[in-house]
């Protein structure tokens, strides 16, 4: 597996890793409870309650859940369509749980793809995501510009026969920066996004605009710069005729000269990575 978490992580990275693990635990716990008839709203509430019980009070964004062809964002025209609906889960349906909790001041943003029962097509999509995780890390280490990497991911998807579905996200981002968030007693959300996190993102955007970089990793000109050190929540999202799959996890980019240390995945012990490793054995 391509990653290099060698040595001790700094206390700060440990904090991020903990909340990312917590989120994936939540995703696995909720996924295990999903059964036919559960709606997207119920799945989102289950994630919210599970995390609330474990001390999460603020969000980068509140949990999303997409079922069936909504995993591929079929016919999504406006951003409101991302919010959970009353779509019910059926046997064989793919689903995606996407949440971004803030815990003890650390934020995570994860995406978990699963399927209720057997679905060979969904398995194939999940397996094909592995190449994207490797490609992204390799090219970030090569310090290619974010826009180029985006286009390379896009080309790989086309070659695989898939549609790029992260293009549907706001600004078409494949990733965005994620940072520490001040803990406040009152943590309101705006259109599902935590105001504190939005504030952080906005201030990054303002600073970045002056210095020629952006906290949003998009196909556009403002992403035509090498990776900026920091934490990036990377979320390649494949779509194939009504079936979608993604993963989302934190990529750490540093200013180290050692390529291995210049970029690495925060955690290699995640459900999708374990799945690929098991498949390889």
């Amino acid at each position: 597996m391509a990653s290099a978490v060698t040595g001790e992580l700094s206390a700060e990275l440990r904090g991020f890793r903990e909340v990312q693990r917590l989120s994936y635990e939540c995703a696995e716990a909720v996924a295990a409870q999903l059964k036919p008839g559960v709606t997207e709203r119920e799945a989102a509430r289950m994630q919210r309650e599970w995390l609330y019980e474990r001390g999460v009070r603020d969000w980068f964004h509140r949990p999303f859940a997409w079922f069936g062809d909504r995993t591929a964002f079929v016919d999504f025209k406006i951003p409101l369509q991302f919010f959970p609906t009353n779509r019910r889960l059926e046997a064989g349906m793919p689903f995606i749980l996407d949440m971004a909790p803030v815990h003890k001041g650390y934020a995570a943003d994860i995406g978990y793809s699963g399927c209720l029962g057997l679905n060979p097509l969904h398995d194939k999509l999940l397996a094909d995501l592995e190449a994207h995780r490797e490609l992204i890390l390799r090219e970030v280490r090569e310090r290619r510009t974010l826009r180029e990497i985006y286009e390379d991911v896009d080309r790989l998807m086309v070659r695989q026969g898939y549609a790029n579905r992260h293009r549907a996200y706001p600004f078409g981002v494949i990733a965005h920066k994620i940072d520490r968030v001040k803990e406040r007693r009152w943590a309101p959300t705006l259109f599902g996004f935590g105001t504190q996190s939005l504030k952080g993102l906005a201030s990054d955007a303002v600073h970045g605009h002056r210095d020629g970089w952006s906290p949003l990793w998009s196909p556009y000109k403002f992403s035509d710069h090498p990776p900026k050190p920091g934490l990036w929540a990377v979320e390649p999202h494949l779509g194939f005729r009504g079936t979608g799959a993604k993963f989302e996890e934190i990529l750490v980019v540093t200013d180290s000269r050692d390529p291995e240390q210049s970029a690495f995945w925060l955690d290699d012990d995640l459900p999708h990575v374990r799945r690929w490793n098991e498949g390889a054995v």
Binding site: V74, E90, G92, P94, P120, L121, R241
Partner: protein
């Protein structure tokens, strides 16, 4: 392939029932599931000879002459001797004789289907029928309800449907006149019938119809007289099928409207629909497709206990497949060139979703294999990737031979492979001209020659789709070579369409327009020698096409639609439709547009 058409090798036996002797023929291994074929009017069991020999390779095939037809004896008196009740007695007697322990798989055509509907819906045959494949013959009870429903609330559409079917049923009224039909059949009509069939229905003469035709037709008139008025006037209210039904509807049937089966879902809990672009006598004109569909249906329904549950995952993943596509393309063999990317790949996937078997052909071996892999995952029962450069005549010929021997004769051929070339006429070198014409035009010619020849040789219809372009009717100073090649493809398609129309083979030209595929990323720019400059132009073109963002999936949908409705020329994107419209309304406007020089 079964070349011998006769039933010479059939084992014959006689079944006595109700004072009648029925001539029964059997083929194939008696341990295999029994498929019972029932013929229509005016026919005898020989109408099935082509289908029966094909099915006999896998099944125990049984055919019988309906009472009064072929070599079976006729009831005396004829009046009242052909009621559906008596025909049901005959069926049970035959089924008990040939397959006493296991239920049979029933297949009916025309009146054979009409009576089989009776068998499949009356209680006394329950447990004797494992499945029923119906073609060109509705249940008289369902038909009666169909008429009633349309008479009681006659909306304009319903009146239209009634009148439509009413006009198609002219022969039913004729057959109700006394004596005249018998005289006609035993006289001039019987003599001319084979010629009429050949001319009107494209049924090639041979050992069919049999010499017994005049008496078959004369006796068979009583099928109508004994049942039609009685059943249509007072249809049974409980005519629900107790076996799975596969309905095969020939879309060119001159005697039965497709609309007859609109309400069938309410009568048949387990219904599979198929459509076939053919005329009424499908057992004669489309034996390959029929036997494939019958065999598939029999296999799926043979043992109710071990019957595989329908895959749930597949339906969830392909919620968007139009039923009309699945009905038409299920099990068909489709070959797509240029299938490693773009429109070709999307087309292969669209056919795969509809249940077709797919051969994905491309220069790019890995891409073609990938298309085949994914096609299998989304519903293609079988899919293969083949590596060929369509411009290579020998390679195409070899491919055609391989496909014919290993996968079968192609039902739908999509000549899609093409390359882009832009640049002014004088900047385009002879070499570049040659390459564009080789791929875009000769690739299509090779495909049509080799695969089209197989289709015509088989003589059971098919369809050829050629991907032309909006550039075929929109001249442009920027795309002389490309436009020339595509205009040639368009005209080739039109000519071929005219030539193949008689053989039931459709030809369509698709003119997509600006579609977001990687044709721009691989396009050549005539006169540009600098690799970096070429790359820059490719990227720029790709970006523009990306901004336009017309998905290849929509073109694929247009291709399936073109085959389904046998359309001649299909412009796809709005700009292509606009250009097509202008090319007829005011070509001058297009010429003015052609002079516009796109910025480099």
């Amino acid at each position: 392939m079964a070349g011998i058409s006769g039933l010479d090798s059939a084992r014959e036996r006689w079944v006595r029932t109700g004072g009648i002797e029925l001539c029964v023929a059997e083929l194939g291994d008696t341990d295999r599931p029994t498929v019972l074929l029932v013929h229509g009017y005016p026919d005898s069991k020989e109408v099935w000879s082509e289908v029966a020999t094909r099915l006999a390779e896998e099944f125990h095939v049984v055919l019988y002459d309906v009472r009064g037809h072929g070599r079976s004896t006729a009831p005396a008196p004829l009046r009242g001797g052909f009621t559906l009740e008596k025909l049901t007695d005959d069926f049970l007697a035959v089924a008990d004789a040939v397959s006493p322990d296991r239920p049979v798989h029933l297949v009916g055509h025309d009146w054979g289907s009409v009576q089989s509907w009776e068998f499949a819906t009356v209680p006394r045959t329950e447990g004797r029928i494992a499945s029923f494949t119906s073609m060109s013959g509705p249940s008289l009870d369902h038909f009666g309800h169909w008429i009633k429903r349309r008479m009681t609330r006659p909306t304009p559409r319903r009146v239209g449907q009634l009148l439509g079917q009413g006009a198609k049923s002219w022969y039913v009224y004729m057959l109700h006149t006394p004596v005249l039909p018998e005289l006609a059949w035993r006289g001039p009509l019987g003599k001319r019938w084979p010629k009429l069939l050949e001319r009107m229905e494209k049924v090639t003469a041979g050992d069919y119809p049999t010499p017994s035709l005049p008496s078959d037709a004369a006796h068979g008139a009583w099928l109508y007289r004994d049942n039609v008025r009685a059943r249509l006037g007072r249809p049974r209210p409980d005519a629900y099928a107790h076996a799975p039904v596969q309905l095969i509807t020939p879309t060119g049937d001159a005697f039965l409207s497709e609309r007859l089966y609109d309400d069938l879902g309410t009568w048949v809990p387990d219904l599979t629909r198929r459509t076939l672009p053919a005329k009424h006598w499908v057992p004669r004109t489309r034996p390959d497709q029929l036997s494939a569909w019958i065999a598939e249906f029999v296999r799926a329904n043979d043992d109710a206990a071990t019957k595989a549950p329908k895959p749930v995952a597949a339906t969830a993943a392909k919620g968007g497949v139009k039923p009309a596509y699945a009905e038409r393309f299920g099990g068909q063999l489709v070959l797509v060139t240029g299938a490693a990317s773009g429109i070709g790949r999307a087309t292969a996937f669209a056919f795969a979703e509809a249940g077709a078997r797919v051969v994905a052909v491309d220069r790019d071996a890995e891409g073609a294999a990938r298309t085949a892999d994914m096609a299998r995952l989304i519903g293609a029962p079988e899919a293969w990737g083949e590596t060929v450069d369509v411009a290579d005549e020998q390679a195409m010929e070899k491919l055609a031979a391989k496909v014919a021997s290993e996968y079968g004769v192609v039902d739908v051929l999509v000549n899609n492979a093409g390359i882009g070339l832009t640049g002014s006429f004088f900047e385009t070198s002879a070499e570049e001209w040659k390459r564009v014409l080789d791929v875009n035009l000769w690739g299509v010619i090779h495909g049509c020659r080799f695969f089209g020849a197989q289709m015509t040789a088989r003589g059971q219809g098919g369809h050829i789709v050629n991907t032309a372009s909006a550039a075929a009717f929109q001249p442009s100073r920027a795309l002389p070579a490309y436009s020339t090649s595509k205009a040639a493809v368009l005209m080739l398609s039109e000519c071929l369409r005219a030539e193949l129309a008689d053989q039931g083979i459709g030809v369509s030209a698709i003119c997509p327009g600006i579609v977001n595929t990687n044709i721009t990323a691989t396009a050549r720019f005539a006169g540009v020698t600098d690799a970096a400059e070429e790359k820059r132009r490719q990227q720029k073109a790709s970006r523009l096409y990306g901004l336009r963002n017309y998905p290849p999936e929509k073109v694929a949908d247009a291709i399936l639609g073109a085959v389904l409705h046998d359309r001649a020329v299909v412009p796809v994107t709005p700009e292509a439709r606009g250009a097509h419209f202008l090319s007829r309304l005011s070509p001058g406007a297009l010429r003015a547009l052609a002079r516009w020089q796109p910025p480099a």
